[in-house]
Every structure is written in structure tokens, then in C-alpha cells.
């Protein structure tokens, strides 16, 4: 094989991804999304733009939503990353995933992982009682070309409420 173009020194990174410890030697300019998609083959996280506008790439880093196209993999060194693949547990789908299906919150599915990860961040920040205006405002970093957002907004409201109810049950 011919020599690979980039000969810059590789940098070691280690992070937890969906509960699993992973490590690699990377070209330092590798974006987090490239690391997830190309090295870990977690292709559920998508790339829809090159200007950090579409949110198809949203993952959680140490619990907060991050556009993984805008973060270097080495910046996530030592951190804990959750992607769409890490949401469903052994007992089945996450309530937010379930809500997207139930309310037809997706069509082509390309924006969906980013939408779901953003929705969860919304619940984490603002609680499970989300009205329509709040949801719409907090979706301003995520583009969808298929759904007109109508059913995404519905799905997030219902998913958040289900999470709230679930948390209550768990607390009792």
C-alpha cells in the first residue's frame, strides 16, 4: 500500500463510549464524529453539514449534548460519550426512542439520532414538562427536511412526559 498522506504524529486517546472503554492512536485533527463513525463504526451518528448547523451529529459528552462534528476526538479524552447506539437498554427502547416511533417523529431517519440526543439533553436541562414553544425554541440547532417538525415536537413532548412518569415511578 502506498504511504498514507498524513504523517503527523499520532496521539493516543481513551474514552468511554456507550459504557465501553475504547482507545486509539489518532491523527490529532480527527473529529469526534469521524472517530465514532470511521474507527468505532458507530454510524448512527450522522454528518449533515460542514458548518455546525444541522445537529445530525449530536452525541452526549459527559452528559451534555455536543455536536460531534465540532469537537476533536482528543478533546473527549478521558470523557464518557453516549451515542444513539447506547440508548436502548436490555429492556428495550428508551422512552424517547419509543415516542419518536409512536408519534411518527421521523421519515428518512437521517436527522433522527441527533434529534433524539438533543431531546434528551432538553429533558436533562429543562425537566420533563416541555410545552410546544419550549421544544421548538430548543430545537434551533437541529434541522429536519422531512417532517416539518410537527411530529418531532409531539414526540419530544410525549417522550419527555414518559421519562417524567418513569422517574416518578422509579422514585416511589
Amino acid at each position: 500500500m502506498p504511504e498514507i498522506a498524513n504523517t503527523a504524529a499520532k496521539v493516543a486517546v481513551a474514552m468511554t463510549v456507550n459504557g465501553r472503554l475504547v482507545s486509539a492512536e489518532l491523527d490529532p485533527r480527527t473529529l469526534l464524529v469521524q472517530f465514532l463513525r470511521e474507527k468505532l463504526l458507530l454510524t448512527g451518528t450522522h454528518v449533515g453539514c460542514d458548518t455546525s448547523q444541522c445537529g445530525a451529529c449530536v452525541v452526549h459528552v459527559d452528559g451534555a449534548a455536543v455536536k460531534s462534528c465540532t469537537m476533536l476526538a482528543i478533546q473527549a479524552d478521558g470523557m464518557s460519550v453516549t451515542t444513539i447506539e447506547g440508548l436502548a437498554g436490555a429492556s428495550g427502547l428508551h422512552p424517547m426512542q419509543e415516542a419518536f416511533r409512536e408519534h411518527h417523529g421521523l421519515q428518512c431517519g437521517f436527522c433522527t439520532p441527533g434529534m433524539i440526543m438533543t431531546a434528551l439533553d432538553m429533558v436533562a436541562r429543562l425537566g420533563p414538562d416541555l410545552d410546544e414553544a419550549t421544544i421548538r425554541e430548543n430545537l434551533d440547532g437541529n434541522l429536519c427536511r422531512c417532517t416539518g417538525y410537527h411530529n418531532i415536537v409531539k414526540a419530544i413532548g410525549a417522550g419527555a412526559a414518559a421519562m417524567g412518569a418513569g422517574a416518578k415511578v422509579a422514585a416511589e
Partner: protein, 789 residues
Amino acid sequence: MNDSTVTPIGAAVRRKEDQRFITGKGRYTDDLSRPGQAFAYFLRSPHAHATIRGIDTAAAKAMPGVVGILTGADLAADKIGDLICGWLVTSKDGTPMHMGSHPALAKDKVRYVGDHVAVVIAETLDAAKDAAAAIAVDYEVLPAVADLAAADAGAQIHDNAPRNISYEWELGDKAATEAAFARAAHVTKIDLVNNRLAPNAMEPRAAIGEYDAGDEAYTLWTTSQNPHVARLVLSAFVGIAPEHKLRVIAPDVGGGFGSKIFIYAEETVCTWAAKKVGRPVKWTADRSEAFLSDAHGRDHISHAELATDAAGKILGFKVHTRANLGAYMSTFSSCIPTYLYATLLSGQYAIPAIHCEVDAFYTTTAPVDAYRGAGRPEATFLVERIMDKAARELAIDPAEFRRRNFVTQFPHQTPVIMNYDAGDYGASLDLALEMADYKGFPARRAEAEARGKLRGIGLSNYIEACGIAPSAAVGSLGAGVGLWESAEVRVNPTGNVEVLTGSHSHGQGHETTFAQLVSARLGIPIDQVSVVHGDTDKVQFGMGTYGSRSGAVGMSAIVKALDKVEAKAKKIAAHILEAAEGDIEFKDGRFTVAGTDRSLAFAEVALNAYVAHKFPTSEIEPGLKEGAFYDPTNFTFPAGCHICEVEVDPETGVTRIVNFTAVDDFGVVINPMIVEGQVHGGIAQGVGQALLEGVTYDADGQLVTGSYMDYTMPRADDLPSFKLGLTQTRCPSNPLGIKGCGEAGAIAAPAAVINALADALGTQDVPMPATPAKVWALAKTRAVRQAAE
């Protein structure tokens, strides 16, 4: 309704495909990797128009990681043909359109910013990009032709297209139309620009080409809405490989909206290059490349006049449109501003005489082709804007003016080819007016005014033609292909079913609706049915999905195949049950001898079909698998009424959509949940066109709106929740009675929004996109006008 139940037609069955999408297990083209793949990067023209005097790749070829660099000269040496436009339009003087040469890699000239000059294939994408920067191209820059309005006066772009005209086409009866205008009591005139749009499916285009030297066969994975048509074009016209040596796979595709119908340079080059470099070649567009090189939509400049009599009845309609083709004629570009546009200019109205002229121009901009609605949004925008303007000039309520002119008798032959088969336009208008509380609008307007806000309400009574068939009819209009659809129903020995369809799903939910249809018909649970599409090795042939055709045409083909399955299964059941074939009834998944309790479940008959012990195989062949090709007898005509209510803040120019009501007649609806989703998405794109989106080139032909920083996409807080209603007249031209729903929102919404703004601002001169700056200026003018009154 869950997976293990039989799903009737009309039920809001949850989608089968969602499981993989919501868990991150979708499989889009860029998610795939082929062993040993190399990465392609396209060197694109930085100039809108230039002659290529030379390309020096020597330094670039020596860069680390480079696998190969190919240019138009290599393409020519391999005798690879041009990309083609597959629909022949003939000018009114009888000359065929002037199709400019369109090589996948430029030969001697580039014609838009983003045009393909060379491809670099390297071990990594970064290596390919680095090497591309080292290619020296000697350009002689020519004047750009960026302004559609003055394209005929610009530098000539193609040798065979003087004045940059591809065709000057007309439809309708000019003399009859002039005569109607001579009789008119009133003539309403309007000048409109239908703004240029970037389709922006969220998944960027991508392609992986692979060559198997052992089989001398190619495989192309690509983001396509119609993989079989891609294969046909790449083999029959471009000449990369014979059809049976080229497999095209369109896996999960992240939205298309028309932009993934076309056969582009990139997938052509990746396929051809795979053999040349002996490696699989992968390319994925970034968003900037998508803005530069995906085919854009719309881009018309029109003048129209509507003649009415003293009673407010329309006498005639004449239209002159300049349509932008961009730098090359893309796959279906010729039919969009002609047969998919002028044929809809009768709208929902009985108009005795129509004449439309369309002049199609080359410009040094990206190619323009079908985008959601394709020609029909342009027609509806024109018709519904001039209807509103005429109503106001005639001092008739816009709803009443429309009603007065509705087509009420069916079938109705328009003066522009179409024969409307069924509809009830009054019913959808009535329901929409009620749902939008049209009567209560004056009070809402007064209330808004008290708060210093301007309210307006606007109607749009759209009609579209879907299905795009029958094949012989579209052939007579210039189509290079038939527009039927195919299906195959394979019943397995254990009674579950695979449906192979030539339709392609890129968000439409076919895996659910098609399975729902089969479940209902065969009486088997929906999880026993799987839908196969998007692979030319699996599905023999198909025309793909666009023009809202998959329900009306694709599902009708499945019905035809199911008819054959049922007929054969009845024969087999008759032998097993020892009854006459005519006595066998099939209902709820069971074959029963009429009037008895002797019956067999569908799965039992399926098993027997393959075991083949209990019927004479000299009479009935073993197995249970049937195919069908279905060619519709007419276009289908979805229609409806959308009503938009806006509130403008005159201080900021911001337009808020406070109410959007859509009432549609889609004929029979298989899955209302999916249909509603289609309407939502379409409306959002239509609102985007009306308020936010617009592709802009500067005078030098540089794309100004080349990213999401400059091109405004509709976001969640730009839109309200929508109110939807359905009316229903059955479509008589297909067995299911389906009309199609995919484009309605994008067709209807722009006129509804702009009519509402015109109402709020008290002027008919509201341009698209009506951005806050423009609306603010119009609100100011209104205030000045009012102060003067």
C-alpha cells in the same frame, strides 16, 4: 395496532422501518465501507464560465497517498458518454431542444462554479484534498451568465445553443386565448419570480463504485431515488458497463425531494474509476458541495394575465415564463417547466382558453431540475397568486371568486392536456374555511391591530398531477422512459411474504404501507411481510419514487401481483379441498369452500404450493410467486385547499405563521399517519420557499448561499403545528383509488403564505422569500400609504 396483527387499509400503523432508524442502525451509503476502498475528491471549477487551456496533474500525482487522478481526457479516451436529459422537448417552431454536451468531467470548458474538473482518488480523503490543491488548471475566464432575465444577451455557454436558449415552447390555443381576452370585462396582470431553491435532503449525496475483475462487473452504492433508472442511463447512454454487469444499490436514503432522481457526475465517475484504479472508490458530498452541485429547483420569471367577464367568471389565461436550466440539462430538467408546469395552469378552475409560452435558458449556474412538486408548485403559485389579485381587483371575496370558477363536472378536459377525473373542490374549500375559522378572521385582525400587528389570511387551492402516466401518453410528450411500476410478490413455503417493488423509499415509509396493503389483502400479520427495494440485483426493474407515484402506481402493481397470487392459491386450495375453483372464497386469510366450514389458512396453501403433492403439476406449476407491471390509465389529480394566517410585526418585519390549515383530497388513504407526515413536511418546504429560502448567485456566478450560514432552512421555531383535514373522492384510474400525497404541501403552501402576507401588507407585490427586511419595507410603505389616505 402492533406488528403481529393484520393491518387494515386506513389504519395508522406504526412504521416497521423505525426500529433501525431510532436505534442508529440505519444503513445509508456513507455508513458503508468496502474492503480496500479509496476516497474520491472532486476538483471543482472556481469560475462560473471558463475555457480550460490545460490541466497539469504531474505534481499532484506525486503527492503521498494518491491512487489516481482522472480528468475529462481520460473519460474521452475510454469513450464514456455524456450525462443526458431523458425528456425531449420540441420548440414551437419544430426544432428539438438544444442539449449541451455534459461530460462527467469537464473536457474543454467549465460552465458553473462547482463544475467537475478532475477527480483525485487517494488513500484518505485528506490526502485526496491535499493533492487536488496541487493540480494546476490553466483557465481562460469567460463572462458569467448569472442573470436569468438577461441570459439571452450573455456569453454563449454551449456551442449548439445560440442566445443560450434550449427551447422556446408553447402549450394551448393562442388564438382562442387572444379571442377570450378581446371579450374580457377585466384583465388582471401579474409578474412573479419563483425563487430558486436548494433541495437540501439532510443526507448529502454519496457513492461507492466497485469493480469485480473476476466477473467483469460493477457495483454502485448510491443515494438514489431510482436505482434502476441510474443503471439504465449509466449503461445505455454513458456506456460504463452493460446493464447486466452493473448492479446499483440504493440502501437507506436520507431524503431526496427530487434531488436524488438524477444521474450525476460523481456516481458516474466513482463507478468508472473503480475499474481504472482497481479499488472501490468512495465519495460523500459535504454540505458545501451539495449546495454547489445538487440540482436546484424552481427559478422562473413569469408574466401572466387573467381575463374575466363582468360576472367574475374566468375567460382566459395567458402565461409567459422564462425558466432557468442552469449550465447543463439535468436528467429530467426539460419536462419540469413544460409538461409538469403548463399542464397544471388550469388549476381547479374551468378556464375555456389557456396559452402558455416557456423559454428555457442556460445560465452559468448549477443545473436546475425537479424539486418536490417539480413544475406544479410553480404553476400553483402563479394561478393562486393571480386568482387572489383578480379577486381583490374585482372586489369579490377570494374564496367566493375561486368557488365561482371551480370545475364541478368530471371528467373535465382542460385546454392544457390534462383530463381531471374526479374531485370535489368545493368540499375541500368548505372544510378548510371552517377549520381555519375564516368567518372569524376580521375579529382576529382587529384584535391584532390593537396590539400593533398586521394580520392577513391567504388561500391556495392547488391541484397537482401525480402518477405521471400512462407510459404511451408521456412517451408522446417526449419522455424517454415509460412510467409504469413493477412488483413481485414472493410467498415463502412457511407463508410469509416478500414484496419486491420498483418504488424506492427515502423516507416515505413504504416498508410499512406496502406491507400494510399485503397484510390486509392476504389476512396475514404485518410482521410476516417484508418489502424489498433499492437493489437492481433483487428487483428486476422499476421506475423509482418521485412525483408522488409510489402509492398510485407502485402499490397498484403490488395489487396486480396479489391478484395473481390469490388466483393461483385458489386453484391449489380447490384441489386440496376437493372443491370447484369457483366455489373457493378467500377472506381474512382463509380459503373456504363457499357455504361449508371446510377451509385452509393462507400459510397451509403456501406450503402445499411448494410441496406440490396435492395438485397436478401438469396443470398448475408448483410455487407461489407472481409479478406484475402496472401502467396507469391516467395521471391522478390530488387537490385541496390550504389556508395560511400570518401576523406581521411592522417594527421588525418578522412574519409569524399563526395558523396553517391544510385540507387535501388524496383519494383513498392507506396509512393516515404517514400521509399526514408527508403533508407536514411538504408545507414546511413550501413555507421555507415563501419566507426563508433562496439560492443566490452574484454577477460573477459565485454562489452566495453556499452553506447553512447563508441559506435559511426552516427550523422548528419558524413553523407552527399544522391543522390537517381530508376530503375524499376516489381516484378512478387505479385499483386502490389512491391519488398521491407527497408533494401537496410544497405545492400549495407558497401561495397560501404569500397571499396571506399580501392581505396583511395591503399590496400584491410581495416577493419570495419574504424575509423580514423585505416585509419590514413593505410594512413601512403600507404605513405611509395609510397616512396619506
